[in-house]
Symmetry: D2
Subunit: 451 residues, 4 copies
């Protein structure tokens, strides 16, 4: 495949966060160029992205040159694409408010509400038909394309693509593990007095599922980081640890890592996602109520905040349109472009991806979307095996895998009863009474299909 | 193997319930005879059983003649046995009181307390070393014997035998499914106006694990019982159903089947154990508090009751020793003797047994002790495959399987932390706060190994 | 399902052997009645069967009454059938002559030529499209019907039905194991002086694949038949054994069982098919040339013989049409009607069937059509697990399984190269040079698809 | 683990080839140093290696400094080793002559005779007890050591280590795939006019078993090498291809790659071992007789040649001992030292290794020793998944896997009959008559255990 006539179909991106990051990284990579077909159900959002992308590509520092085009139909956008990137927002802010905040009525607090818990399940029910549609379109218009999904709930959405089109070449990507590598690098610096040049010098073996991901091997050069992390977690479990202590209070996305340290002390694996994600997979230990969340030094992400954040991004766009010198090209820290390079055969990559379980984790169900390392090479993603997950962690992970599988099956077979059974079995929901859980299911209209 | 010189080693039996039932059934089976070596850690209990067994065998109506001998050591009892029957009471009534009642302090009510929940796990921790010892002794003294376990927690104890001696030929037996067949027979009579001659005319396909067992196919002659049960459960879910309505109030072991009907409405499989067992595997839907239990029309079995029940049995023995005309030979309704007949090649048997999963339930973990039908023939127990368990039920069952596996691994590797993680993950325990669960774990001394 | 309004679709049956047997057995079973829709690509053959069936059903001794109707289209024949029986002859006698005799040019002798070997593979290539078509029609017209296939190559044809319609409820049936039970019964009579009342009193555990089937457990009452068979095979391996010694010379279908005895001495399992089938799965040990076959005391079945046999059957029909007193109702020894009774819930049956491997043989590939015991009950066929096949036998069986799977994949994906690779890997063919094998493949026109 | 106090136990090495290569590579690696404990059943051979190793380490160009010590007992050599390297010669040249040449009496020609075929199986029977012993010693004296095996039959020897000590951390290494990468590099240069800097720039996905290894993905930069190889194989299948055409005639270890090209045309995968190894896994297509071998342009390696080769190496040693300026440090092209670096955390490595199948090849048996890529990192070897092997190749590979497994089981359970069944099922042996095969088995004394 030529590396200068690449076609990428970008599905979604109206919310701009992920799209912009990719645009920057592409502009900074001289070995690739081609066309980005931007498709969003909101054509204007795609057009905005076209304008931004074009500005970025035209930036004097841009060494990678791309043509951005807003495309009105998904069919046309996908047609003969070499790569498909999916980053949609399933539903409206009103939907999200229902997902995240309504359960508070029953005492269920969610720090993100997009993966598991009542919000995650409701969002899943809504996303599954969208991803069935996208999968079927890919089958028709670009069956050989590599598909990178960034949309949450990651495991559910990616699994649905494989349900729609079993031969699809799709992976799910998420940066939460990278953050944990940064934490381990900071730990090494703090505890060993060394300087870690690069996040990637922290070698990790990844296991579990997205946002409930675990590291079961970690090293820096010839140093096993597990004994070190044991001491580190012990030292900081009460105060938390950040590179700049106390910074977690400044941003809803940050935390003091106390949840991670506590999980290590209990389960002896390094939980590898933000505390706000991890907390949602557990019974309400960390999410009992807002005070508990504050005590554990992380945040509930409100939808209000998200609305404002979106407005801020739009304002930034306007600024840029007025004055394109505001654009400063900087690497995003994401790996999307490295993945493209690897899939094109330019540079091998070993990184963590979400991919169907083909035996890489022998004690989790086959075909479930699990997160492990993979070796990415020309036109090839091959998962790297990881050791069996310890029984206690396996049990918690498996519960979410089967719950998510049940939700997918429920939507595909129109079996509301099955969806409800999965819902009441979620650990956050199981903490309220069965009767309340069923009421919540109905009041939130989790099913969303009867209308 | 000759059928008139059989040696059965009976391990345990001090509590006499199961031992006596077997003695009656053996006395009523003319095709078998031989010797029963009775071993109990309480030699006097074994001697009492020797006296009772001898009286029963000498009964004029007894057509099967057996020699009963109390044996002081397990080695001698097992030596060259053809069959081993295990029915021990792991621990004292004081242990049982701790298992069952102490958790009430934290609002956890248990209807039996011997399988899962805080009591079941504590009992498991105590039983595992005993079954390791028994398994190792069997390996040494009668490796070719067939082993029938009646002890709870059934899955844990049977799994431990296989851990101790992987070539062991062991099955676990329990009569809960038979009771469900009786219920289905009563249903057929009530709903169809037919007369079901024999429990075994109700054909069932069994799946799941002991006491959290499910029927996924049921028929009577050419009638599929599932649509019928759907109507039946709907009709009686509020009032309950018994052959003699209201009888559940007379005995702590009885129930009105309301839990079973409710489970059917939710999960669309026929739960196949007593309500008091089923309730313990679920979050505290049915066991919220004593009033809830009463509303669902079943009982909490107190240890006080068990103490009295034991005294009653002892008194009965005394009566029989004084006046052996009190002995009335009647079939027990258990299948132990039918299993012996099948294993000896005299009569094939298809029945439900607890056995390592060798693929009979493809979506539960391999080697876990699961309960399914098996074909029993001369020196052969072969599980019959059953369809995949639906995802919602599979998720609940699997949680207990992995929890039990974790408890076994914890005890065998002396990993108290793992035991605690399994404990807090039990559905009844997960309903209280994490902190309370950990306190309960310590206060109950679940670990019992630090002493 | 009512048992007196059953609809059976009979596909094929032009050759009459299997059809007639079923008609007799149905006539002798008072508990069932209904309609048989007879479909054959040769409508006249179906009409002949209609006449015969009607005569048999009208026979004064017939207690089971059936309406036979020749139906011109498969769609109409299948429409709403409760059961489908497939017994087709894939191809003409000319095809069969090519299958069986052409390879003799290269020194390959086949005793049947319909399962494996050059003839079996060529027949498979021809049958696969037919069974795809039948499977697809069943999906459309009677998706809930139980399908019983009698057509060879059994494993290939049945597997193809599952490829066409994965939810199909299909089994494959064959009487070869019954013959082996008869042999074991004769052995017991000869060696033990007992009288075995019924073939079914010989209990066997079956494993392997059709016509290369093995018994790994066998008992009669409380007697393990394996040590006995070891002595028996040793005694008769040179002379052969038949109930009436020397009878094998009278019929091409009979043998002296020498091959079976030899296989036992080598592999220590009881091969459970006729010698003429077994020999074809092995390298040319028993099929080196016609003299070897004669020495091993079995036969090459010629197509000439089959043509004459067919003419004989037609003549018999004519006789019967002229004089219906010639009809004598006798049980056929087949189990088709017992299977119907079991599937209707009237009487449980444990017997050997060909069924997708769902774990019943853990060391053979999943989903391959294997032959094991199954428990058949109302609307339910559930395989009974059998122990792992010993490595040496597993290796031979697996080679044929993968070869057959390759042939199916070759035909479905139109990959002639893959078909050729499977062909040259057949044990009978691998004994000639690679170059000769490829010539044979072309000269026989194994592929048959280029025309 | 410190990288300057490493202890390596070297078991075997008397034959010096592999030992010397490692010594050179270690001398050229400045980041490692420590001690090499040399153990050989011939202590003098170990002492010779001590002398050579010391000379090499003292060489002025040597940047990696190692202490070499001949150790008289394996226990002492293994004691607390960090790494164990096994490179033994199982048996004498007389044994080897029997392995390789005796079968010629029956028309079986072997090009190597150390992996499969009559020679490979006889060598396996002899090696298994040795590797059981080594595995048990490792368990006792250095259970945490990483073990690298270079001994053939590779799969059998490595599998036996895991049988002896299931927790062993062992891999098997072989350079045959590297040679294939060189061939692909040469192809790229020839066909594309590019210059490939480094063998490792040829990216390959490896599958199969050692010496019957296959490449199912191959690329150079962004070029898929499969279509290229198809043209290349077509072009050179008759003449062969070498970098220097005709060179194969100079060395018994070289070939013209005609076998590899022919296998590609038949099986559409790139066979990734020397032609002389590959030929032995097939029926006698390429090994019909010496003339055929010559026509296919590879060689039969005679034992005479090996004896002389050994003498030459000894003479070289003497020369070096007399005049150490004869030592010229050059990298060997092997990867042993790179593997040490990776296992020590110094540099990640993705390469092909022989390792138990933990799902990396889903359609080959679990736990069989298969050859695939692996990611090697600090104290971690994790196989990389590869796609299912096509059915035709899988069938051939699987036959050898099960045969080798049978041989191991035969030796461990002292079951000569099973060994014979595996022997007669080898493709080279199956080409002669069954009777001859059995005679060969006895005349070669394959079993070697009755003495
Ligand atoms: Mg994420
Ligand atoms: Mg019970
Ligand atoms: Mg047949
Ligand atoms: Mg090698």
């Amino acid at each position: 495949m030529a590396t200068n006539t690449i076609k990428i179909a970008y599905i979604g991106g109206g919310s701009q966060g992920w799209a912009r990051r990719l645009m920057y990284d592409l502009a900074l990579e001289p070995r690739l160029s081609g066309t980005i077909a931007l498709y969003d159900i909101n054509l204007n959002a795609a057009k905005t992205n076209q304008r931004i992308g074009t500005l970025i590509s035209n930036h004097p520092d841009a060494t990678g040159k791309w043509t951005y085009e807003a495309i009105p139909t998904i069919e046309e956008a996908l047609k003969d694409a070499d790569f498909v990137i999916i980053s949609i927002l399933p539903g409206t802010f009103a939907d999200m408010a229902m997902d995240v905040h309504f359960p508070e009525k029953y005492g269920i607090y969610q720090s993100v509400g997009d993966t598991v818990g009542p919000g995650g399940i409701r969002r899943a029910v809504r996303s599954i038909p969208m991803f069935m549609e996208i999968g079927e379109q890919i089958k028709l218009h670009c069956p050989d394309a590599w598909v990178i999904n960034y949309t949450n709930p990651m495991s559910v959405c990616t699994r649905t693509l494989y349900k729609a089109f079993p031969q699809i070449k799709a992976i799910g990507c998420c940066h939460e593990v990278f953050e944990t590598q940064h934490l381990l690098a900071n730990m090494a610096e703090e505890m060993l007095g060394v300087t870690v040049e690069n996040r990637k010098d922290i070698k990790v073996s990844v296991t579990g599922i997205n946002h409930f991901t675990w590291i079961n091997e970690a090293s820096y050069q010839n140093i096993d980081l597990f004994p070190l992390y044991a001491r580190f977690a012990e030292k900081y479990v009460h105060t938390g640890f950040e590179k700049e202590q106390g910074k977690w209070e400044e941003s809803v996305f940050h935390s003091s890592n106390r949840v991670k340290f506590d999980l290590f002390r209990k389960y002896r694996l390094i939980a590898a996602a933000g505390d706000r994600h991890l907390a949602e997979f557990m019974p309400p230990v960390y999410l009992k109520n807002p005070q508990t969340v504050n005590d554990w030094k992380f945040h509930l992400t409100t939808v209000d905040f998200r609305v404002k954040d979106q407005q801020r991004k739009i304002a930034e766009n306007e600024e840029v349109f007025t004055d394109d010198t505001k654009i400063v090209l900087e690497p995003s820290g994401e790996e999307g472009v490295e993945i493209l390079l690897a899939l094109l055969g330019i540079e091998d990559l070993v990184t963590n991806v979400n991919f169907p379980n083909k035996g890489q984790i022998q004690n989790l169900p086959n075909e479930a979307i699990v997160e492990t390392n993979a070796l990415i090479r020309k036109n090839s993603v091959q998962p790297v095996r990881t050791n069996d997950i310890p029984l206690d962690v396996a049990n918690m992970v498996n519960r979410h895998i089967l719950n998510q599988e049940a939700v997918i099956q429920a939507v595909l077979t129109k079996d509301k009863n099955l969806a409800r059974n999965a819902f009441v079995n979620d650990p956050l929901i199981a903490a309220i009474s069965y009767e309340d859980a069923v009421s919540l299911f109905e009041e939130m209209d989790v099913w969303q299909q009867d209308q």
